[in-house]
């Protein structure tokens, strides 16, 4: 178990070094002649208008919220999925009850019209 994670740790280190290396090479060989016009925000080619903080739709937030709850749900479901083959039938029903309770939440959000993009 620990060896597997040691391996992942080594993989992480290599996985960081490998993308950094070409960036370093680029930093060494690429020309560096900054000037204000070059450094200005590109956006879409013309002069930028206004602030780069645009107001966001709160809708993005609602979807992230529903997602958070379902994400945590799946964490509970993975151990359940591994266990049901070895355990009696009612354990399957417990998991189904778990899912159905959360589906009620999805139905509520749906009914409330929070899944519409307004």
């Amino acid at each position: 178990m620990q060896n597997a994670w040691l391996y992942i740790g080594l993989f992480l280190i290599i996985g960081i070094i490998v993308p950094v290396a070409p960036l370093l090479i680029s930093w060494l060989v690429a020309p560096k002649k900054p000037n204000p016009i070059k450094q200005s925000t590109y956006e879409c080619g013309i002069e930028t208008v206004g602030d780069s903080w645009v107001q966001f739709k709160a809708q993005y937030y609602i979807f992230a919220l529903v997602f958070l709850v379902f994400d945590v749900e799946t964490v509970f479901l993975f151990p359940w999925a591994l266990a049901i083959n070895k355990l009696p039938l009612y354990t399957v029903l417990e998991g189904i009850l778990f899912i159905l309770i959360l589906v009620a939440g999805l139905v509520y959000a749906w009914r409330k019209g929070m899944l519409e993009w307004m």
Binding site: Y61, L65, L68, V69, V72, V75, F76
Partner: protein, 103 residues
């Protein structure tokens, strides 16, 4: 595993204290919630360390850690929803300025 249990517990105590500082000292309500997250993580480190060091064959520590995940998720969902709702009405996220319910 040559790490004494106390190392984990001290680390978790330090993390908890830093989180507590964040909760007490920050003005912004979202930053306060960030501090709460740190405190919950400190608790989880403790739970998992006790599971590993005392009784790895019983799953109590891991189960509780997962429940803490669920609690943290619920807390963040409701907490941030409240903060955003308050922000929409009062245009502030400074915890001290949200004082309508003080008296």
């Amino acid at each position: 595993m040559s790490i004494p249990l106390s190392w984990y517990l001290i680390l978790s105590a330090a993390l908890f204290s830093i989180g507590l500082f964040g909760v007490l000292a920050r003005k912004n309500a979202i930053a306060i919630l960030l501090g709460v997250e740190l405190m919950l993580n400190a608790v989880n480190v403790n739970l998992v360390a006790f599971w590993r060091y005392l009784e790895p064959a019983k799953m109590a520590g891991q189960v509780f850690a997962i429940i803490v995940f669920a609690v943290a998720a619920a807390e963040v969902a409701v907490g941030l929803a409240l903060i955003i709702s308050v922000y929409r009405r009062r245009k502030t996220v400074i915890a001290d300025e949200i004082d309508l319910m003080k008296w």
